[in-house]
Amino acid sequence: MVKITFFNLPENEMKKIFNGKVLFITGLFVASLVIFLGNKAVSWTSTDQFCASCHIHPHSTDSWKRSTHFDNKRGIYVHCVECHLPPHGEGHLWEKAKTGMRDLYGKWFKDPENLNWEAKSQIEYAKNHTFESSCIHCHENNYPLGLTQEGREAHLYYEEQQGDLHCINCHITVGHYDPDRLHEQNTAFGISEEVVAEVYTEPGMIDGFNDFTEYIPGSTVSFEMVAIPGGSFPMGSPPTEPFRDQDEGPVREVSVSSFFMGEAEVTWDEYLAFFKQTGAQGKTADAYLNTGKAEVDAISGPTPPWGAPDQGWGKGKLPAITMTHHAAEVYCRWLSRVTGKSYRLPTEAEWEYASRAGTTTPYFFEGDPGKFVRHGIIDRIFGVDTAVINSYVNYAENSALRTTRPANVKENPFGLVHTLGNVAELCSDWYAEDAYAQYPDGALIDPTGPESGQEYVIRGGSYRDGAENVRSASRSHTLTEQWLKTDPQIPKSIWWYSDCTHVGFRVVCEYNEHEIEE
């Protein structure tokens, strides 16, 4: 037997050392193997092919291959994980693990056919899986050689916003090509579509206090107006109503005079009639700096929008969206002029009165908001019965995150459609959280809201809201600054919100008994 000795140490000591070494070497080997395999696994699961093997949503690979991050002059491919995970050292592995778990869950438990890929590619969702740190990791210099004047202004603006903007707010198509998305002034918007149909020469006639059809002279567009008989109602919601917000109270007894209201939200057909007849390029809001005058001509029209205001969802009978409160008001003035009537935005009281249509329940149809909203894991897995609300309201649960046509839902008792959901509707009132408490005591007659304010009331909730926010009493308001964040024009448009796709409006036509009798 050959004995191995080191430095003449006793045998048992030697054994210890020998065992220690074996243990150490084995440990080292195992650790190396784990690291090696781990790295292999990470790189194997980080290839474009691996990503594409599960990501079966339509066109993701095709649109990537047509984008500038694949198809470019420099011969550089930018791979899935280079944008959709943060850079190494900035949470890369952690995010990869999270994404991996989410994707596995999606693959095993969800049907890709039912996923709303289009919604997920909208900027606000895309921000969740496109990492700005990854953009900056490669694009280190915001002011590269050859940058255009517009680019200089835009990047300066981006830096001034201190984190409110993501690169993809403007550069959304660089990773996945989308010919329908524009980040430029859309001068062709709404003026290229020719329709062969009768051009109305006379506006609609009001024959007493009855529903009537309005015809927009000089256009092929008509729409229905519903006579809303005046009356009294409790405005706001009781503290016991599920999901009630503070600003919905105190409940006030309000009476409103008779008026006519648009059966549906103003459609693209209607709004584009205005746009075509008045649209103008090059109007600016800060003319006062040169002239000292802030007013804009009463019937001046919108400038061309930035990008596609209809979001590529289509126009026609879909509700017009993304116009500013100012634009909606100018539309009403224009409509009044071309029809010889008195159109305007509804007051908040008129809006709620018309939407409630005699009901005092959370919705104008039967149902408890508490039952339409999913609580807890059981509801999440098995769902809740939303058949009733689905038939009346286009809201987050059934909207596929986009607007829908009036014909797709049932009307309220007054015959109005989409007061709840679809698009949130601009009112003429300034918003105040305590607006109802600000009014003097006693019954209110045709209240018009606070004297002044910063933002305007919007009502009814939209296709983005859950059942809790499409109640008749729910109140919300415009967010002017936030909704103009990515408008890179200087000055920003006074006509179009660049970052708000869920707001539209409905018109009211004043009913003047004497005038109509004459």
Binding site: N142, P144, R152, L156, Y157, L289
Partner: protein, 446 residues
Amino acid sequence: MGLSAKTSRRRFLENTAAIGAIGAIGAGQLVRACTSESKTGEVEEPVMLDKAPEGEPLKAGVVGCGGRGTGAAFNFLNAGPDVNITAAADLFQDRIDKFRQEMKEEKGVELDDANCFLGFDAYKRLLDTDVDVVILATPPYFRPDHFLACVEARKHVFMEKPVAVDPVGARSIMAASKQAEAAGLNVVTGTQRRHQRDYNNVLARVKAGMIGDIVASNVYWNQSKLWHREKQPDWTEMEYMIRDWVNWIWLSGDHIVEQHIHNIDVSNWFVGKAPVEAVGVGSRQRRVTGNCYDNFSVDFVYDREVHMHSMCRQINDCANEVAEQLRGSKGYTNCRNTVWDPDGNQLYAYEIPVDENDKPTVNNGYDQEHVDLVAAIRTGEQIVEAEETARTNLTAIMGRQAAYTGKKVTWEEMMGSGLKLGPEGELTMGPVDIKALVPVPGSAPE
């Protein structure tokens, strides 16, 4: 980004890294510095070179060869060894001739005929020569275009204040400044107080907390009438306006921008940011030509209700003062050389060292600007001042617009304003479609 004298972003990052390297020892202090306004009490003495170090020879071209262009060329030649002026551009032959004569007589520098250019596009041809540095000293209306062209041609720049006359121009300078920074260029602007030892020594004390937190500032440029030119029979309207430029809003930006910018800049520099809004008054009482006002009084507001009151006037036989006053919670200072406690006891005073003949033994601010520029080019310690100067410039424009309109004007409005002054289209030596209309704020009763 903060407004500090000579700390470009790159240097700031290096400094931050250095602080990081100190590590645990300085950690307590670092945390304190980050979490509150409290100052450390340690004064970081400003370091200023008397001459730029030796290095590669540098050639400079001058765009705008009037008094300041000539002065700046002299300052550049004083900056250190192996610097030269090799090209010149101007609109007027007499200006170029005088410039060349003075360069020859005073500095022994002779310019080639082939390197002297005339006309509105002369700067472009000057950029095609082999200059390394460009000195921009035309009326400020031209600056944004000139500066951008220099940056795109990868030239180091010294440019006079102001750098723009309108918000569009100021933002163009900001963006081009960032381009210059990214391209490794060096840019010094003519806000020379930032290169004076006296101001920098006081700033070091203010930063160390000698006057506590800054609560208010007053800045003044009240002086007698500046100059004007009478129109000559052989001058076109364009030539007349440009030769009379300080009196025309579109060329000078008015005197609150053109001259008072220095004092507003000191306040912004010491406070460390630009104001968020302004309300002001101003009028035209005695000015002879053009359409500028001759007095402004503007209340600027930094955030947290810290106000800067600014006053400027160019009228004979009135109280004159060119100064800055900064008040803090523990004292006050004239920013230039002295610090007092709240009771008026002197806490610190800086005296410019002089020789036996009472001549300063250190550079004045004008020379120091060019020492700092050439040193930056030769040492690689980058310096880019254009963005901060543009921010002060836009501050002054905000004050001007507040006075012109009578309205409150905000920084945000300025950052989004499409206001661009000057004639439409390409400039030519002919008639100018700009009337001598003086802005009138508000409205009169019907």
